[in-house]
C-alpha cells in the first residue's frame, strides 16, 4: 500500500487509532481477557454479553492462540500467537457498516483509492454453538476483517442481534504499512530511542511455542487437564444459586465459562500435538460445545444475561 501522510508508522499506532476511534463511537474499551483463547470471540465480553437483552458496546484487543498455526516465526504471515481487534455492539446499530468503514479510514486506508468489498461469509463456531451471517471484508482482494450479525450463541437465539467486527491486526497492519514479513513490522515508532520490530518481540516466542505446541507439551497432562476443566465447569454450575455466605443469588457463570475456555485451548493444543484422530475430533468439539451451552444457559439466569422483557412480563404477572 502506498504510504500516504496519514499512514500509521507502527503496529501499536494502528491499535491506538482503533482504540481511539471506537472509544469515540461510544464503545467501552476493554482490556484483553486474561486467558488463552483462540479468537476474540471467546472473550466473555462477546460470547456471554451477546446473550440477553441488555444493550452492550465494547471494543478490545485480544491476544489469540492457534497452536497448529505455529511456523517457528518463519512464515511471513502465520503465527501461533497473534492479535485480533474485536468490536461487539448490541443491538447492532443500523449504520454499523459505515462505522466500520470509518475505522478503516481512521487507520489510514483511503476509501477513494482502495477497493473495499463485502463478500458473503457465514460465520460458525462449532465449539461455541454459535453462528451468524455477514461478510469477510476485502481490501484490494485481501481479507481484512470479519463482519458478523450473531444469530445464535451457546445454542441461544440472539435477541437482540449483536454486530461483531473482528480485525486480524497483523495482516491488516502489514497491508496498511506495506510490509512483507510480519517479523519486519515496526512494533513501536521506528524513530523511537529504542525501536522494536514485531520480530524483536515475538520471533523467539514463536520458536519456543512452536516447539512446545508440536512436540513439547505433555499430552497426558493435557488430556487430564481437559477432563478436569470439563468436570470443574459442571461442578461450578451445579451449585445452588443462593449463596449462604453473602445471602445473595450468585450463579458462577463466568468462572464456569473460564473452564470452558480452558478446555477449548487444551483441545487446540492436543490437536497441534497430533494426538486426536479425525473421529475423536468431532467428539471433543462436541464436548466443548456442551460446556459453552451450559455456561450460556447459566449466564441467561444472571443479572447481566437476563431478558428484560421476560422479567417485566414476569413482574407484571
Amino acid at each position: 500500500m502506498a504510504a500516504g501522510t496519514d499512514t500509521p508508522k507502527s503496529f501499536q499506532e494502528i491499535i491506538l487509532r482503533l482504540q481511539a476511534y471506537w472509544a469515540a463511537q461510544g464503545c467501552a474499551v476493554l482490556q484483553p481477557y486474561d486467558m488463552e483463547v483462540g479468537a476474540g470471540t471467546f472473550h466473555p465480553a462477546t460470547t456471554l454479553r451477546s446473550l440477553g437483552t441488555k444493550p452492550w458496546a465494547a471494543a478490545y484487543v485480544q491476544p489469540s492462540r492457534r497452536p497448529t498455526d505455529g511456523r517457528y516465526g518463519e512464515n511471513p504471515n502465520r503465527l501461533q500467537h497473534y492479535y485480533q481487534y474485536q468490536v461487539i455492539i448490541k443491538p447492532s446499530p443500523p449504520n454499523l457498516q459505515d462505522l466500520y468503514l470509518g475505522s478503516l479510514a481512521a487507520i489510514g486506508i483511503d476509501l477513494g483509492l482502495h477497493d473495499i468489498r463485502f463478500v458473503e461469509d457465514d460465520w460458525e463456531s462449532p465449539t461455541l454453538g454459535a453462528w451468524g451471517l455477514g461478510w469477510e471484508v476485502w481490501c484490494d482482494g485481501m481479507e481484512v476483517s470479519q463482519f458478523t450479525y450473531f444469530q445464535q450463541v451457546g445454542g441461544h437465539d440472539c435477541r437482540p442481534v449483536s454486530g461483531e467486527l473482528t480485525y486480524g491486526l497483523e495482516r491488516l497492519a502489514m497491508y496498511v504499512m506495506g510490509i512483507d514479513h510480519v517479523m519486519d513490522m515496526p512494533f513501536n515508532a521506528p524513530d523511537a530511542a529504542i525501536p522494536l520490530t514485531y520480530g524483536d518481540i515475538f520471533r523467539q516466542t514463536e520458536e519456543e511455542y512452536s516447539r512446545h505446541n508440536f512436540d513439547g507439551a505433555d499430552t497426558q497432562m493435557l488430556f487430564d487437564h481437559f477432563a478436569n476443566a470439563e468436570q470443574e465447569c459442571d461442578r461450578l454450575l451445579a451449585f445452588a444459586p443462593d449463596d449462604p455466605k453473602s445471602g445473595k443469588r450468585i450463579i458462577m457463570a463466568h468462572p464456569a465459562y473460564d473452564q470452558c475456555i480452558k478446555a477449548s485451548h487444551l483441545f487446540n493444543l492436543l490437536d497441534a500435538r497430533g494426538v486426536i484422530s479425525v473421529t475423536e475430533r468431532q467428539a471433543y468439539i462436541g464436548r466443548v460445545r456442551a460446556l459453552a451451552k451450559k455456561c450460556a444457559d447459566a449466564f441467561r439466569l444472571t443479572e447481566a444475561g437476563r431478558d428484560a422483557e421476560a422479567d417485566s412480563a414476569r413482574l407484571g404477572a
Binding site: H114, L133, V161, V278
Partner: protein
C-alpha cells in the same frame, strides 16, 4: 396506466443469491397483484449487490369489483353446518339469501368485493412478499424480528403516471417506503429522489451504479477482453464467474495483472482454480505459450491512480495464495513419486458412507468391478484394475484438500509424475465423467471401464442399503450416475451385458458382508499396496512395458472370488435378485427419459424393451432408432396399421378356435393376384430381413418390412379372411401369422400406440 417501481435497498446481498432473488421478487409481486385483481403489461427484475429492484409496467389503476356466489347448506341443515358456512364466508345469517333448489331451500352467500385502488394492493402485496421471501438463508438484525438476507435499509415504492409519481405508503419493521435511494457506496452523491424507472436508472448511472446485471456482465467481459487483447493475450471464458462478479460490483472496473514468473510452471488448472476461488480473478492465457500468464480482477471503484493501488494489493494477495499452491504442488509431487503409500493409508480413514464403508473399501470394489467389466469389453484388466485403485488417491493430496474441484485433474498429473501409464492417469481424470448431461463422456478404454465401475458401484451400494432416489430427492446423484453409464455405453457404442454388470455389483455387497472372517482391512490395504507395487514394476516402460498379470495370480484371485461367492445364502441371492431387477428397471426408466429428450416416443422404447437382450443398451437403441425412423415414413406408419389388423384378426381367431395358426401357409391355396403377391412379397422380405437381422442392420430390416405395406394393404382390400371355406380360412390365418412373424424381428409392434 401507472408503472410500478420497487427497490429493496439492503446491505450486501450474496452474489450467488441475486439471480434467485430477482426471480422470486418478480413472481411474488406479480402473482400477488394478479391474484388481487390487477393486470400488467410487463415486468422486469434487476439487482446489484445492494439492491433488489422490480419494475412493472402498465399496471391497472384499480381492480375490478368481484361478485362471488357460494352455495351453502340446505336451510334445514343442522345449526353446526350453517355456522360453519357463515364462518367460511365471513357473513351473518341475515346476509344469506334463501333460494329454491332441487332438494328444497338452500342458503346462498353473495360476497361482493368492491374494486380496490392499486396503491392499496401494491402495499399489501409487497409487504407479504418481503415477509415471505424465500431466501436460502436469512437473518435478523438489531432489535427487529423481520428476516432478510442482510439488514434491509430502505424501501422505494412508486407508482408513476403521466401526471406524476406517488409513493405507495407502506411500513415494514419500522422502514417507511419513500421515493429516494442512494448510489455507489464510495462514488455516490448521497440520497436522491426518483420519479420512475427511467429516471431511477439514469440517476443511478450518474451515481456510478449500473442497475442491470446483464449490462454489468457485458461491461466486465468486453473490458476484460480489451485489456487482454491489448497485451496480446486472451481471457479464459468462465460464464459462472462472470455472473458472480457482476453480483459483487455496482460499477465494474476491470484491471489486468501478470502472474509472477515463479508460479508459471504450476498446472493451468491450479492457477485458474486458485485465482477464481480465492480472488474471483479471470485467467488470462498467452496464446503463444498456451500458459496462464495473467489475470483480470474487477474492482468496484474508479480511483485517481487508475486502479494502480488496487492492482498492486491484489497482486500481493495472489502471490501469497500461489505460494501456498506451489507448496501443495511440490509436496504432492514428492508423495506421488514416492509411491503414494501415505495417500492410500489416508483413504482408509476416510468414510465414504457410514453404511458403505471407507474410501478404501469402495476402491476395492471399484477395482473388482473394473476387472469384470474389462473382461466383458475385452480391455486390459491389469491396467484397468491399477487405474481403478489409483483413480481416487488424489483425494488425499494437499491440492485436492484445498481445491476439491481439482479432483481427478490432479490425479492425472500426479500419476504421470509417478511414472504410470498415460491411460491410468487419464482414468483418474476422466472416471468422474460425465459430471452432468452436457459433460463429455470418457472415450479412452481404460477410463471407460473405470468410469463404469465407479458408477455401478455407487448405484449398487445405495440400492443395497435402500437409499434410492425418490421424487425430487437424489442426494447422492444416482440418476446422474445411471445416465452417465447409459451415455458412456451409447456414445462409445459398447456392447456390454448391463444385467451382468448390475448383478456383479449388487452381489459384491452381500459377499462383502459375508467376508467378516477374511483378513482385516489393514491386511487388505497392504495387499493392495503390494499389488500396486507389482503393477508399477510391470508397467514400467524400462522393463519393456509388460502388462500381463503374474502367472497364477489371476487364477488365485478367481478361486478366492468363487469361494466367497459360494457363500451367498439363498435368502441373500433372492434379495440380490430383487434389487438387481429393480436397478435394471431404474436404468430403463432413465433410458426412456434420455431417449424421449432425443425425440423417441416411450411406446417405441417399450416395443424394443420387450425384445430379448434388452440389457444391451446399444442394441436396444439401435432397434428403437430404426423403428422410430420407419414410423416417420408413410409406408412405415401404414405398415403398423396393416400389421395390427393382421394381428388382431389372428389373435381373435386363435382365441375363438383355441388353436395357434403357426403352420406355414401354402401359396397353392392363394386366390387372386393380391394374395399371391403377398406370398411373393413375404418371401422377398424374409430373404432380406434374415441377413439384416444377423448383421443387426435394423434399418434394412425395417425397410424390408415397410416394403410389405402395399401388398398387405392390397391383400386386406381384396380378400376376406374368414371365408366359408375352412381350408382357405386356415391358410389365410397361417398367412397372417407369417406377417406377424416377419414383422416381429426388430420390436414388439403390438406395443405401439395408435
Amino acid at each position: 396506466m401507472p408503472d410500478l417501481l420497487i427497490e429493496l435497498f439492503s446491505e450486501e446481498i450474496p452474489a450467488r443469491m441475486q439471480g434467485m432473488a430477482r426471480e422470486a421478487l418478480k413472481k411474488l409481486v406479480t402473482d400477488g397483484l394478479v391474484e388481487a385483481g390487477l393486470t400488467y403489461a410487463s415486468a422486469g427484475a434487476f439487482s446489484t449487490p445492494r439492491r433488489l429492484v422490480l419494475a412493472v409496467e402498465g399496471l391497472t389503476a384499480e381492480s375490478r369489483p368481484v361478485r362471488e356466489e357460494r352455495k351453502g347448506p340446505n336451510t334445514s341443515a343442522p345449526p353446526a353446518a350453517i355456522e360453519g358456512f357463515l364462518r367460511s364466508t365471513g357473513l351473518v345469517l341475515e346476509q344469506l339469501e334463501r333460494r329454491a333448489d332441487k332438494k328444497g331451500e338452500v342458503f346462498f352467500a353473495v360476497i361482493e368485493k368492491p374494486g380496490r385502488k392499486a396503491p392499496e394492493i401494491v402495499a399489501e402485496v409487497l409487504d407479504a412478499a418481503i415477509r415471505a421471501f424465500p431466501w436460502p438463508k436469512s437473518m435478523r438484525w438489531g432489535n427487529g424480528t423481520l428476516r432478510w438476507v442482510r439488514p434491509l435499509q430502505s424501501i422505494l415504492c412508486l407508482l408513476t403516471t403521466e401526471a406524476g409519481h406517488e409513493v405507495v405508503p407502506l411500513t415494514v419493521e419500522g422502514i417507511h417506503s419513500g421515493d429516494t435511494t442512494e448510489g455507489h457506496r464510495f462514488m455516490g452523491i448521497g440520497r436522491f429522489t426518483v420519479t420512475g424507472l427511467d429516471d431511477y436508472a439514469a440517476k443511478l448511472r450518474r451515481a456510478k451504479v449500473m442497475l442491470d446485471p446483464a449490462e454489468r456482465e457485458a461491461a466486465i467481459w468486453s473490458g476484460a477482453q480489451n485489456l487482454a487483447f491489448a497485451a496480446g493475450m486472451e481471457v479464459v471464458p468462465d460464464p459462472a464467474l462472470l455472473t458472480e462478479i457482476a453480483g459483487l460490483v455496482e460499477w465494474p472496473v476491470p484491471l489486468m495483472g501478470r502472474i509472477a514468473e515463479g508460479f508459471l510452471h504450476l498446472p493451468p488448472e491450479v492457477l485458474q482454480t486458485s485465482m477464481k476461488e480465492h480472488q474471483k480473478f479471470f485467467s488470462v492465457r498467452n496464446p503463444k505459450t498456451a500458459r496462464i500468464e495473467g489475470f483480470v480482477t474487477v474492482a468496484n471503484i474508479e480511483t485517481p491512480d487508475a486502479g494502480e493501488t488496487i492492482l498492486k494489493g491484489n497482486q500481493k494477495v495472489l502471490a501469497a495464495r500461489l505460494s501456498d499452491a506451489r507448496f501443495f504442488w511440490e509436496n504432492d509431487l514428492r508423495v506421488a513419486k514416492a509411491g503414494m503409500a501415505e495417500w492410500l493409508d489416508g483413504l482408509a480413514s476416510v468414510t465414504f458412507h457410514n453404511r458403505l464403508g471407507s474410501q478404501v473399501e469402495r476402491i476395492e470394489r471399484i477395482s473388482a468391478r473394473a476387472s469384470e467389466i474389462s473382461g466383458m469389453l475385452g480391455t486390459n484388466a491389469t491396467l484397468a484394475e491399477a487405474a481403478a485403485i489409483l483413480a481416487k488417491v488424489d483425494l488425499q493430496s494437499a491440492m485436492v484438500g484445498e481445491f476439491p474441484e481439482l479432483q481427478g485433474t490432479m490425479g492425472a498429473y500426479y500419476l504421470q509424475a509417478a511414472g504410470f501409464d498415460r491411460s491410468v492417469a487419464y482414468a483418474a481424470r476422466d472416471h468422474w465423467s460425465p459430471k452432468g448431461p452436457d459433460d463429455a463422456v470418457p472415450s479412452d478404454e481404460i477410463s471407460v471401464v473405470v468410469a463404469l465401475a465407479e458408477k455401478i458401484d455407487l448405484l449398487a451400494g445405495f440400492w443395497r442399503i435402500d437409499e434410492k432416489p425418490t421424487g425430487s430427492k437424489d442426494p447422492f446423484a444416482l440418476r446422474r450416475a445411471a445416465l452417465g453409464i447409459i451415455r458412456i455405453i451409447l456414445e462409445n457404442g459398447l456392447r456390454i451385458p448391463l444385467l451382468l454388470m448390475v448383478t456383479n455389483a449388487i452381489e459384491s455387497f452381500f459377499i462383502a458382508e459375508n467376508r467378516k472372517h477374511l483378513p482385516k482391512l489393514d491386511a487388505r490395504i497392504s495387499d493392495m499396496k503390494e499389488t500396486l507395487e507389482l503393477y508399477r514394476r510391470l508397467l514400467r516402460a524400462d522393463l519393456g512395458g509388460v502388462t500381463v498379470m503374474a502367472p497364477g495370480e489371476m487364477e488365485t484371485r478367481i478361486q478366492r472370488a468363487r469361494a466367497i461367492a459360494g457363500m451367498l445364502s439363498l435368502e441373500q441371492l433372492m434379495e440380490a435378485n430383487t434389487k438387481k431387477t429393480d436397478l435394471l428397471a431404474f436404468f430403463h426408466d432413465r433410458l426412456k427419459v434420455f431417449l424421449k429428450d432425443q425425440g423417441i416416443r416411450h411406446d417405441v422404447i417399450d416395443a424394443c424393451l420387450s425384445m430379448p437382450g434388452n440389457d444391451d443398451l446399444t442394441l436396444l437403441v439401435k432397434r428403437a432408432t430404426a423403428l422410430a425412423e420407419t414410423l416417420k415414413t408413410e409406408d412405415g406408419a401404414n405398415l403398423i396399421q396393416g400389421f395390427k389388423r393382421a394381428n388382431n384378426i389372428l389373435t381373435q381367431a386363435e382365441a375363438k378356435d383355441g388353436v395357434e395358426y403357426s403352420f406355414g401357409p401354402d401359396p397353392k391355396f392363394a386366390e387372386g393376384p393380391e394374395e399371391a403377391a403377398l406370398f411373393k412379397a413375404l418371401d422377398a422380405a424374409e430373404a432380406k430381413i434374415g441377413p439384416a437381422m444377423a448383421a443387426e442392420d435394423f434399418p434394412a430390416a425395417m425397410a424390408a418390412m415397410a416394403a410389405l405395406r402395399a401388398p398387405i394393404d392390397a391383400f386386406f382390400e381384396a380378400v376376406q379372411i374368414n371365408t366359408d371355406n375352412p381350408v382357405i380360412r386356415r391358410n389365410r390365418l397361417n398367412l397372417l401369422h407369417r406377417i406377424r412373424a416377419v414383422c416381429s424381428g426388430v420390436a414388439d409392434l403390438t406395443r405401439l400406440e395408435g
